[in-house]
Symmetry: C2
Subunit: 347 residues, 2 copies
Amino acid sequence: MKAVTLQDLADTLGVARSTVSRALRDDPQISPDTRRHVRRLARDLGYHPNAAARALTRRHSGVVGVALPRSAPFVFANPYFATLLEGIASVAEDAGVPILFSASPSPDYERWLREGRVDGLIALGYGLHAHDLARLEVLAGGSAAIALVGAPARVTELPTVTVDEAPGIAAACDRLADAGHRDVALVTGPVNAAYARARADMWRASTEAAGMAVVDTAHGDDTQAGGAAAARRLLELGPVADAWLFGNDAMAFGALGALQTAGVRVPTDVAVVGFDDVPPAALLGLTTVHQPIRALGEHAMRLVVAALRGDPAPGHAFSTHLEERRTTRSAPSAPAVPSHGATEDVT
Amino acid sequence: MKAVTLQDLADTLGVARSTVSRALRDDPQISPDTRRHVRRLARDLGYHPNAAARALTRRHSGVVGVALPRSAPFVFANPYFATLLEGIASVAEDAGVPILFSASPSPDYERWLREGRVDGLIALGYGLHAHDLARLEVLAGGSAAIALVGAPARVTELPTVTVDEAPGIAAACDRLADAGHRDVALVTGPVNAAYARARADMWRASTEAAGMAVVDTAHGDDTQAGGAAAARRLLELGPVADAWLFGNDAMAFGALGALQTAGVRVPTDVAVVGFDDVPPAALLGLTTVHQPIRALGEHAMRLVVAALRGDPAPGHAFSTHLEERRTTRSAPSAPAVPSHGATEDVT
DNA sequence: ACCCTGAGCGCAACCGGTTGCGGCTCGTCA
DNA sequence: TGACGAGCCGCAACCGGTTGCGCTCAGGGT
């Protein structure tokens, strides 16, 4: 199955390659007649222009890269990334740009850009170091359309879409304090990740601002399993805290499981608050700080598409708010409902 | 920022372009000395071969396409696809092949293949019609590496990875019958989708084989919202069935929510069984038929990678089994635990 | 009858690698 | 000392589109 080329069309039509090319691209220099003939033959023969050849002459590929910073199992275990990808893929679909995807710890994206494989890039800022940023900025200077998602390690002129975590976190802490909570435990993300430290700091600050105290801290790895492990460590210490705050929902999910097998009642014995509001959170009734993940992805892709068209747009910081559900109680007085065990009803 | 090309290296080194090319590709015809010089300069100047030019001469791009059959919001609302993608991306990462991704109702994948944008393809069989299959088979004949995931509309010689739904579904029905269930309701996927009809038929057959009867049927669209809507329709009819079977987990999730707001107890009043065993199912305690989604994705990508290397591998049908959780009870005698409402504990 | 104009098309170069083949420069052996 | 072969490298064509430029030819004006 040899692919049909411009030359093939030209040969069977007895015209020059250039004529066929122009006819297909609606060049006014071509007579309506030949244009029709060419188009008809192209359709009949199933002609599709070779992407590589086209990318070679025009100096771009029309593809946008999305490089997730970790391995696939990590990335997709967290609904956050899937939701982000949903937003990204959604506007990519509308704009008609294919996305080149990779989930890998190694920074494929820079190679992709240099090889001309992609014209634009959405980079997740979470794992990025300062020197990564610097290299990306150089690339962006060279007409690459780059957008960052998530807090970068330092300020950058790259258009970035982030969230302001403060309102949601403050609201959560206020709510807990109003409900009579006093001593909270904090389960953070990876200690060596700047964004995780920043978020933990914000939890701490708001906790104290609300008149509560962080009496215990555990570190997770942002995964469900890590959250479960952190919960078990916390439980071994005994029931010191009456509210647990998490760096993200995935860890909260794991903790919820651990608490259940330990027979600890939520929210009666301990309230649980996550961060992200990924889709399963609503299913599980997890109280959590909502960030508009899908919108983040959409906006990032819109930035890239705009930059591709030559009119760069500024980044944006979305807001957050508290999404209150069943893992916190709204009033300090809890009804005694000690029903637990394997035969408990799910609804 | 002009990209550095082979010619640039050749010029500053005073040699021919071809020499540089050969030196970089370890051609034995090049002396160790010049090879060293070339490589050093390439490194110093940050040379990266242009992907388009390379793809043009070698007749392939090294990219594999993954085209999901529906729009992004639909695709990513269902954890099934994310999990599948996890498997796909995982082995793609190991093999070092980038994946070109699109979620779109329009069949981009065929254009991609014809344009030479991708060498291989993973196509989701669910939405494929017979003539789509035929066209894909033609492409595959032309050295495209294609693998199908999910039941195709008809038999095909394309390597396909599927699941055998029978064991899991039979086990579920047997379990339900043993637990004393008699009348079941069935919530199917889209009626116009062959795979959904096939799965519904299998539920029906196994239900009867287990001595139960399908007393009611509702049709959903495979989404959570569709499942909730179907559940509400079922509830309006009154409590005729004591077990609900679903075409997939997403719909079961929606139904669980609807049941909860309706005050119907699960599993006391009605048992719920899903299909897929997506990650949130374990979180929610949903009894469901497990299919190894991630393994499906991995195997499909392995098939493509193998075909790319020239040694085609056969497809595979994975098995299914019942994953019994809290939305079914293991014994017919249910303890009376009527605790419900907004203040109920989550764990 | 002659020139000018412009529409319509072909020629050829170019994008950046890849590769067959031919040629030059040594070293070796007779 | 001359022939021969191996080792190294350059020339040029090619992959499949794109595009500047120039050529041809028909038609209109004087």
